[in-house]
């Protein structure tokens, strides 16, 4: 038996932006994509091939399901237009529907099946060929003889079907699964205590209390004396800070819950809180209270070590001279600094840094520059991950700067930059070329060389 699952993204556009699911089909219920439950169900009733039909694919579903090997089924992919009828979609996927009975699931539906039960499709009895039919979607069945789409049926035993048409539906379905139906599905994670399921890499503070039923995702940190549950689902990549209490709620992926925040009967995603009783939602702007968590990008370990060790070494070497000369310079009134806002990355993050304003007054100032002590204060930014040790020239946060950086996808500013390493004029074309070139050809040796060159240049050309 084969199955066509028609994913009508249009009807679920509100699901985007709720948590980390980019595609509506990947929105999770107890940390498992709703589409995966559907795939599991088809496998359970004997499906051998599944074709997922999209109106608006974005590659993430295909990346997750691949060819279906993991689920013991063959998965294929196809396309449909937004207003295609089921008949039209079957027509477009004709080579798939022939020669085997076909179940067509139209829409994203949550089927309350039990993995331990056996379901049969009853081929006797009156019917329209629809096992389920509502304005939110339908499940229909036809035998191998494609013309006979009106054969009947029912699933025995009978099945409850829910549709996540609104936020409250999603919440209700999650709670139902959590409270009453956990045993019926394969839910990702490890169950130690009754009703509590934890994902991989979950950090639980010593005084954290968890009252089941609770499902926790992967890469989650529960800190201090946080209280979780009962009836809580926490998505992947979430931090619940000390003293916070979460009850009867759904916390979507990539969220930070601040200290002592009390959340009850809510859906939380990033900085957005939705009340399930009245559908009201608010956007919290205080990021210490509630905020989205950026997913950590894969770090190039060598680069990271180079930055951290190099910064540490440099800090050690510079510490004493820094203290001596800065104090002297300050006493003499020789020091001048500018505080400006600079761009940190091509997606617009900025930070205010103090930079020397370019006055060469006095011997102290010159010494500070030649020993690169003026960069000392910036070294801490390397540990914070905001700057590289060696990288692109820091671009100021002006309209022009932003334009430039938007165009420069590899932009990664450093305390020392390639332009000064090669003694180029920051305004000239050669500087832009060098910056892009080194940026595209990063490596341990080239970066070390650039660092040495920058330090040497400061030493030689400032005294």
């Amino acid at each position: 038996m084969n199955s066509l699952i028609i994913i009508r993204e249009k009807h679920y556009s509100w699901l985007r932006g709720l948590g980390s699911a980019d595609h509506p089909a990947m929105v999770t219920i107890c940390n498992k994509p709703i589409l995966e439950y559907m795939v599991d169900f088809i496998v359970l009733v004997g499906g051998k091939k599944i074709r997922l039909v999209f109106e608006e694919p974005d590659g993430s579903v295909e990346a997750y399901f691949g060819n279906g090997e993991r689920w013991g089924v063959e998965i294929e992919y196809g396309n449909a237009q937004a207003d295609d009828t089921i008949a039209r979609v079957v027509e477009k996927n004709s080579s798939f529907g022939e020669q085997a009975p076909l179940i067509v699931i139209d829409g994203l539906l949550f089927i309350h099946y039990d993995k331990n039960a056996r379901y049969e499709i009853n081929p006797e009895g009156p019917g329209t060929g629809f096992l389920y039919n509502s304005e939110s979607g339908s499940i229909s069945y036809s035998t191998a003889d494609a013309a006979e789409r009106s054969t009947l049926v029912e699933f025995t035993p009978n099945l409850q079907i829910s549709t996540p048409r609104k936020i409250v539906n999603l919440f209700r379905i999650t709670m139902q699964v959590l409270r009453e139906e956990q045993h019926r599905y394969v839910i990702p994670g490890y169950g130690a205590d009754k009703g509590v399921i934890l994902g991989r890499n979950v950090e639980i503070g010593k005084e954290v209390k968890i009252h089941g039923p609770v499902v926790v995702g992967s890469n989650v940190r529960l800190l201090g004396s946080a209280v979780i549950g009962p009836n809580v689902v926490i998505g992947n990549n979430v931090i619940v800070d000390d003293g916070a209490e979460v009850r009867e709620s759904l916390v979507m992926a990539d969220t930070y819950i601040g200290r002592r925040l009390y959340i009850s009967a809510k859906m939380v995603a990033g900085s957005k809180v939705v009340s399930v009783s009245n559908n009201a939602s608010i956007e919290v702007s205080d990021e210490f209270l509630l905020s989205p968590l950026k997913r950590s990008l894969p770090i190039n370990i060598v680069r990271y070590l180079f930055n951290v060790c190099g910064a540490f070494l440099l800090a050690l070497l510079q510490l004493i001279p820094f203290c001596i000369f800065f104090t002297l310079g300050w006493l003499k009134g020789d020091l001048r600094f500018n505080k400006s806002r600079f761009l940190l990355s091509s997606d617009g993050q900025t930070k205010i840094f103090r930079t020397p304003s370019g006055f060469r007054t006095g011997a102290i100032d010159r010494i500070i520059r030649s020993l690169s002590l003026d960069r000392f204060a910036l070294l801490k930014e390397v540990f914070a991950g905001k700057l590289q040790l060696v990288g692109n020239r820091l671009i100021p946060d002006t309209a022009e700067g932003r334009e430039f950086v938007k165009d420069f996808s590899g932009y990664s500013p450093g305390i020392f930059n390639y332009t000064e390493a090669d003694r180029l004029d920051p305004g000239a074309a050669e500087s832009e070329i060098a910056e892009r070139f080194y940026s595209a050809n990063r490596g341990f040796l080239t970066e070390s060389k650039s660092l040495m060159k920058a330090l040497m240049n400061n030493l030689l050309y400032n005294t």
């Binding site: 109106e55 608006e56 694919p57 590659g59 992919y77 196809g78 396309n79 237009q81 039209r88 027509e91 477009k92 996927n93 004709s94 080579s95 798939f96």
Partner: protein
């Protein structure tokens, strides 16, 4: 790239084979221009045997589509393989063209339209 022209149920079909790249667009455009001059407005282009398509190939398909649409016709696509389908999705052309598994169904679809 090879182009095989046929007719099914009164609809002109073009079965393409090989690489539909920038160097093949000239041939496709000429062929299509000739077909348009014969007056037909509805076509099916089968890409089953196309193993590579780039922006040049896509552009010429879009160009052909515009020409048929301007005379109230259409071009329907059949036989997209994984690779070709990915490029279609990347450039959002799956929303512009009606896509079918096989040539015959695409031809039939003009009747039930």
């Amino acid at each position: 790239m090879k182009i095989r022209i046929d007719e099914m149920n009164g609809i002109r079909t073009l079965a393409l084979a090989g690489r539909f790249d920038a160097s093949a667009t000239g041939g496709f455009k000429d062929t299509f221009k000739g077909l348009l001059q014969e007056g037909a407005a509805n076509y099916v282009v089968d890409l089953q045997k196309v193993d590579y398509i780039d922006s040049g190939g896509l552009g010429s398909l879009v160009s052909a589509l515009r020409q048929t649409r301007s005379i109230d016709g259409d071009i329907r696509i059949s036989g997209l393989s994984g690779k070709v389908r990915s490029v279609f999705e990347l450039t959002r052309l799956h929303r512009i063209f009606e896509i079918f598994d096989d040539e015959l169904q695409a031809v039939k679809s003009y009747r039930t339209n």
